[in-house]
């Protein structure tokens, strides 16, 4: 058979491997190595390099964060797979200009940041990778101030061993 030796799953599943290696590399700043091109203008490179929540937020916004129950964050309690964790953020706060998602236990804390134009509803959904069990922090910029909420997502590996 033509693809007998082209087993796409040998030796280990790539996504699982990815998560494992994210784990192994946690704490290392590997981002930026091997970059072939300069960052797209406007992309907050500095913030994406940070490995702590405080540093990432400082680089991105430079202002303090307060927790607020006016920000809603929908994440699973147990991620079905750390490679694809659905995340939804919403808020009742007014004049929202941006939403940022942080995963403190990932090698680099900042996962994604969304800038909202006028007329856009203050809510966004996306899918994130998580290296291991970690809080997910959603930060909403409203009237120039930062409000956040944090929820833990449990990430476990798949059942079958290596």
């Amino acid at each position: 058979m033509p693809d007998r030796h082209a087993n796409p799953d040998a030796p280990a599943d790539p996504a699982r491997r990815a998560v494992l290696q994210l784990l192994a590399a946690a704490g290392l700043i590997a981002l930026g190595t091997g970059r072939a091109a300069a960052a797209v203008p406007g992309w907050p490179e500095e913030a994406f390099r940070k490995t702590s929540q405080a540093d990432a937020l400082a680089a991105l916004y430079g202002k303090p964060l307060e927790m607020s129950d006016k920000v809603t964050l929908q994440v699973p309690e147990i991620a079905e797979n750390g490679a694809v964790v659905p995340v939804s953020v919403g808020t009742t706060l007014p004049n929202v200009t941006s939403v940022t998602l942080l995963v403190p236990e990932n090698p680099n804390t900042l996962a994604a940041s969304f800038k909202f134009g006028p007329g856009v509803a203050p809510a966004v959904s996306c899918r994130l990778k998580m290296a291991k069990t970690s809080p997910v922090i959603a930060v909403v910029e409203s009237d120039g101030r930062l409000f956040g909420v944090s929820k833990e997502v449990k990430v476990t590996l798949g059942g079958c061993g290596g």
Binding site: I78, T133, K154, T156, L157, G159, C160, G161, G162
Partner: protein
């Protein structure tokens, strides 16, 4: 190679353990090694099916591993379950760690030492 008679096998095992223990030194090391084996996905991978302290996963294929010394006062019973549960319960989904050479005798003893701390 047919299986050696039970008594001989026990004797060999005891000898291996004596010598092994002598070489490895402290008993605490066996517990640590047993824990590592139990958690290692390529070895015991106990967490795949059982939840247990320190495991942080919700597996429920097998019973939770807790109160092991009370549940299994006889070490031999626990050894038999890990080694070849199919011999006791032909329809079990528990792999035969000993019979199928997933863990060797010393590794099984270390896992038991660890399980007795739960």
């Amino acid at each position: 190679m047919t299986a050696p008679r039970a008594a001989t096998r026990r004797a060999l095992l005891a000898a291996a353990l004596l010598l092994g223990g002598w070489a490895a030194g402290a008993h605490g090391q066996d517990v640590a090694a047993g824990r590592a084996l139990a958690f290692d996905r390529a070895k015991g991978n106990c967490l795949a099916c059982h939840s247990m302290a320190g495991g942080d996963v919700p597996s429920n294929v097998g019973p939770e591993l807790a109160g092991m010394r009370a549940r299994f006062p006889d070490r031999e019973v626990l050894r038999a379950i890990i080694g070849d549960e199919e011999a006791r319960n032909p329809q079990t989904v528990m792999p035969a760690f000993g019979r199928n050479l997933i863990l060797d005798d010393r590794e099984i003893e270390a896992v038991i030492d660890f399980l007795y701390t739960l």
